[in-house]
Symmetry: C2
Subunit: 433 residues, 2 copies
């Protein structure tokens, strides 16, 4: 055993308090696994007085968070402050500039500044680790970085946002509409007061961009993620999907698209109809799950708690144990300079089946108009249901046969502005087992 | 980049050939991820002449397999020969004695000699790695060793044998009896000509004992695994289970039992009724899945291909990449000397529900006799079905309420030797979501 690994912890919200509890509660076990003791030596947060349910008296308190990076006798700075810029980023840069390893749970910062931080860490020969930034307590970063290291990974996708999955599961189970279920989720702590980052897909997109870089050896490209959230999903969509043998899940999906010769990077977060024969259809509640398809490993699935103080703390401390063991290779599985800058893939040529739902005026000729637009675009229908939903309006839900995404776009383009349609159509791609 | 990592490969069966193909096919990618080239320099197998579909001309051939451990210019010896003793073990000891890292896919050898090899590796400061020995291509060893390193793991269980899961899935889907489905599985290459190791639970027990040591920090205790296979499962069991909302799976299950004050190690491989609300019920075909429950991470699930040349090669080469990166801590997640010798847990006090099936003589008084034995042992019945299966015999299948396992043993003891029973009763514990 060498001396203890000394930790400075910035941010004492629920995850920060969880990290302290974990390190205290599992202390002897962690020391055996890490080969040395892990000691928190300094902490910092905005409000010193707040009761966090943990005893901070044994740790040096720093009022100035960014001063942690300059603190003596610290080996690792752990950032649990959040925010893609500001103090978190300043702390990260400062820690790596001053010879300290850096661990974070901050997906927004990694998605936006991961390349810079990976380069800084590499140049300084330091560890930069972010297991907790993706899929909470699931060791998916280590599983892919190390376990799938021998594979050309062709595709990575999954359920990356627990709030959305909780809401969709609740809508499915209780039959409620989105707004009601969201309010209920907020009251139970499964959704934030301002839920936009979660329900509009931004959080999932942060995580997806990180997974894509790690899996494909490409530079992070958060801005290249097409994203659409779950706000506009109706109870009727859930019911139709179920009747057809599907469940609706918000799926982050990235793959290398070699369709046109040169490899391009496809990244999209969107609600999809997942076939019940696919394991992701059985992931309910706030659980996360990630699937990676390697050219030798085949399909790998990692599933577990996607958030929460304890699972997230588990991931943070796993990174710390890695550092204690000296297992600290490059952050994105290869040298930052080796990561490829890859063009973004268009989606028009992608093939698949689509669920299409429209609210329409309930009068003669509407279905003919829609059917003609689909025919003209070359889209054929596998199944269709029409039902009246209110005076003068009807809901049409259908699943198409496999077609190019461009054909769906063409269909919607042809129908845009038609007074047959009430509101926007809903398009969801299918994910089959 | 430093110089290439030089590999000697012993055993050129399907997995060995897969490792060669993987290293050749993904060569540039692996070099980027490993930070250096991975080069196979020497190979050995029993029969040089056999066509394996891979070009061996670039590698030094050794007729004497154990000589690989003494070969110059070799950094890592990879053992894919199999067998818990003999050449495989000799090679492992020789490699570690001569300063070479050692990688194996040999679950039997790790289960029987893992402690010795871990100690040898540690003393020599060498890596000893065995990702491919458990659950094929799923990076569950790395996931638990590193990803769950901060957790006290309370329980680890899963589907550890692809052959059994394939057979049970086929019985479920096609309604066939065990013997017929086994023959079909053999003809399709999903079961060995001598299937005993798989279907009697030995292979799953090897893997379970490895997982238990890794998760709990206990010394390997393969002999402490209670095991029962799937030979005696009838089509009627599958049908009854399905009617009750369960699927039958061969489950390896290990946990720390603190019931009587001192921690004891419980390890068992047995067929169980898995509730459809549990993710393991949805694992079909030759797939493996491992669940670990940590005190902070919560429930983690790892799922993927449990066997096959390509997935197994993926795991073998992942270990090699770890070694190339210098990420090579202790084999069982802590120093071998720190692993605890833990007494074996008895099972009589374990609580749970049980599926109990008996073939009985079809005459008055039989059910009364069985019911009395259960009453006397304190076992109550949640559901029961009786049906005639042939002239003069009937099948009784029931699910008990939760009870101590001892009570079930007492019931069977009371009925032992009764001429009401035809053949042995079948007992399967339930696994709920």
């Amino acid at each position: 055993m060498t001396g203890p690994l000394r930790i400075a912890l910035a941010g004492l919200g629920t995850v920060g308090a969880g990290v302290i509890r974990l390190i205290e509660e599992n202390r002897p076990l962690i020391a055996r696994r890490a080969g040395r003791a892990i000691e928190i030596v300094a902490v910092s947060a905005r409000d010193k007085a707040r009761d966090r349910g943990v005893d901070l008296s044994g740790y040096r308190w720093c009022d100035d968070m960014t001063a942690l990076s300059a603190a003596d006798n610290v080996d690792v700075v752990v950032e649990l402050v959040g925010g893609s810029e500001g103090p978190a980023l300043e702390l990260a840069r400062g820690a790596l500039a001053r010879g300290k390893a850096f661990v974070t749970a901050n997906k927004a910062m990694v998605a936006h500044h991961g390349m810079e931080l990976a380069s800084l860490a590499e140049e300084a020969g330091l560890a930069f680790k972010y297991e907790a930034a993706v899929a909470g307590g699931i060791p998916v970063i280590k599983g892919l970085r190390e376990g799938a290291a021998a594979n050309r990974i062709e595709r990575v996708y999954g359920i990356l946002n627990g709030t959305c999955n909780y809401i969709l599961s609740e809508m499915e189970e209780k039959g409620g509409d989105f707004d009601d279920v969201l309010k209920d989720a907020q009251s139970k702590g499964f959704a934030e007061a301002d839920p936009a980052f979660d329900i509009d897909g931004v959080d999932a997109a942060h995580k997806l961009s990180i997974l894509a870089s790690l899996c494909f050896g490409t530079k992070l490209d958060f801005d290249g993620v097409a994203m659409r959230g779950i706000r506009k999903i109706l109870a009727a969509d859930i019911a139709q999907a179920r009747a057809l043998g599907y469940r609706i899940r918000l799926i982050g999906h990235a793959e290398i698209d070699g369709e046109n010769g040169d490899a391009c990077l496809f990244q999209r977060v969107s609600p999809r109809l997942v076939s019940k024969s696919h394991p992701l259809a059985h992931v309910t509640g706030a659980t996360n799950a990630v699937v990676a398809e390697g050219n030798f490993s085949g399909r790998l699935l990692f599933q577990g708690a996607g958030a929460g103080d304890k699972p997230t703390a588990s991931a943070v401390v796993a990174d710390i144990v890695d550092i204690a063991r000296g297992e600290t290779g490059p952050a994105f599985a290869m040298a930052a300079a080796d990561l490829e800058e890859m063009p973004r893939a268009p989606s028009g040529h992608r093939m698949g089946q689509v669920y299409l739902r429209m609210t329409v005026a309930d009068r003669p000729g509407v279905l003919a108009e829609i059917a003609a637009a689909m025919r003209d675009a070359g889209v054929s229908i596998e199944s269709l249901i029409q039902k009246e939903v209110a005076d003068g309006s009807a809901l049409i839900a259908m699943v198409t046969h496999e077609c190019r995404e461009q054909a769906i776009a063409d269909t919607l383009q042809a129908l845009a502005g038609s007074d047959s349609l009430i509101g926007e159509p809903m398009v969801m791609h299918l994910l089959r087992g």
